[in-house]
């Protein structure tokens, strides 16, 4: 089975997280669960990857963290929310990906098309 190359996806972890935060503030496990569900389990983000993405984006001002007591479990959690700066960055990354995809696609053969792969 083909697996996702972590080198390729690394540049887009931030994009995925920001996309999910566009819908509203969220916390670590919630985000990682949504990524897994949205990709049908094809991509599972590691806890360390997620945490370093959060800290890096916080440093860059794309997200803000705040502490809040969770409604369902009553435990104190760190939540993250996207900033306007983060939304801007998200749009930029989105355009970048559309372009990247367009370019790479040119070199990808569809099955049956060229016969020999």
């Amino acid at each position: 089975m083909t697996e996702i190359s972590s080198d390729i996806i690394r540049g887009y972890n931030d994009t995925m997280i920001l996309f999910l935060l566009l819908k509203g503030p969220s916390y670590g496990y919630e985000i990682s669960k949504q990524i897994r569900n949205l990709t049908d389990g094809k991509y599972i983000i590691k806890e360390t990857t997620l945490y370093s993405a959060f800290t890096r984006m916080e440093k860059n001002g794309y997200v803000e963290s705040f502490s809040q007591i969770s409604e369902d479990t009553g435990k104190r959690r760190t939540y993250y929310r996207i900033t306007t700066h983060g939304m801007e960055y998200y749009r930029q990354k989105r355009d970048e990906w559309v372009l990247t995809k367009e370019v790479i696609e040119k070199f990808i053969t569809k099955e049956n098309e060229n016969g020999s792969c």
């Binding site: 496990y29 599972i44 806890e47 360390t48 945490y51």
Partner: protein, 337 residues
């Protein structure tokens, strides 16, 4: 969940306790706990849940940059070989160490108690026998003293077997750390009872004499020996309980200050949850009660004003509280926005 915590402890074992590291550890634990809870709720077995939580954790390299601890992570890799050279004490060895230390406590405490009991001899002899036989009492006292000193020396001698721990050449395994911390907590209530009973006995030792004051012969025959017996038992309890406590603390001290295992010190016991402003302050506070006990006994024996000297205890308690307030360092609060 214990296994997950354990795993995280090990990953963070050699990272410094900076706020950013602590925050990362907290939050990673939060995520892992959430995932674990959900997997269990889905009907996974404990082992399966722990397995997937740990396999999806990732690695420290990735965190290093975010935490500003690249150096430590690099060092940790390089030192991986070196640290292994430090003997790791397992639960069995820790048990053995505690066993030896505890068995040491008995002869030492008993020795001191015997020396105190020795004072009874001259007092009783001078009361019962004619004056010219006073020497017998003094001889009896020396017999007690000798026996006491021999016991103390015997107790101290065993220490060679504990060289590893005393030289700090070993470190505790995670399991052993938890075992020792748990044992110490369990012992703590016994220790406090022993300590308080000991102090009460010492402080109240003048009571029998006071009660018998009007019967001067009974006072000398019963009151005086009772005074020494109560002090002896009290001092025995105080010394015994503090040596036993040291056994646990010595073991826990083996863990590097920077390691997460050292967390067991502050987390587990209330009296260790404090950090003092300097090593000197830490030392003063750690020998405080022993010093007070010594002062109390010396003052009492010299002045023989047992009826008044107990005042030392409440005064000492107040001074202790004040000192603690002044010398304590408030734990750094991890700032969250």
């Amino acid at each position: 969940m214990e296994a997950v915590k354990n795993y995280l402890d090990r990953m963070f074992a050699n990272l410094p306790n900076t706020p950013s590291v602590m925050r990362a550890k907290d939050e990673l634990l939060q995520m892992m706990e959430d995932k674990y809870t959900e997997l269990i709720a889905e009907g996974k077995t404990e082992n399966e849940a722990v397995g997937s939580v740990i396999s999806e954790f990732g690695n420290l390299d990735e965190l290093a940059e975010a935490l500003g601890v690249e150096e430590e992570v690099q060092k940790q890799k390089e030192e991986a070989v070196e640290t292994k050279e430090k003997t790791i004490l397992g639960t069995e060895e820790a048990k053995k160490y505690i066993g030896i230390k505890t068995s040491q406590a008995l002869p030492i405490a008993l020795g001191v108690a015997l020396i105190i009991l020795g004072f009874i001899c001259p007092v009783l002899v001078s009361e019962i026998l004619p004056d010219n036989l006073d020497m017998i009492g003094v001889a009896g006292m020396f017999a007690f003293d000798t026996a006491g000193v021999i016991l103390i020396v015997l107790g101290m001698m065993k220490k060679k077997e504990l060289k590893n721990v005393n030289d700090k050449e070993s470190t505790l395994s995670v399991d052993a750390t938890r075992y020792v911390a748990d044992e110490r907590d369990r012992f703590d209530s016994t220790r406090i009872v022993l300590l308080i009973t000991g102090i009460v006995l010492c402080a109240g030792c003048w009571l029998p004499s006071a009660v018998l004051e009007n019967y001067s012969r009974a006072e000398n025959l019963v009151g005086a020996p009772m005074l020494f017996i109560m002090i002896a038992i009290g001092v025995f309890m105080i010394i015994y309980s503090s040596i036993c406590k040291n056994a646990y603390d010595d073991l826990l001290d083996l863990n590097d200050k920077g390691s997460m295992k050292a967390q067991y010190k502050p987390q587990r016991s209330s009296d260790r949850s404090v950090r003092y402003i300097s090593p000197a302050a830490d030392f003063v506070m750690s020998v405080y009660w022993q010093t007070i006990t010594c002062i109390y006994l010396m003052v009492s024996f010299v002045t023989f004003a047992w009826w008044a000297s107990w005042i030392i205890w409440p005064v000492a308690a107040i001074v202790y509280v004040i000192l603690k307030k002044k010398l304590i360092v408030r734990p750094e609060v991890i700032t969250e926005q």
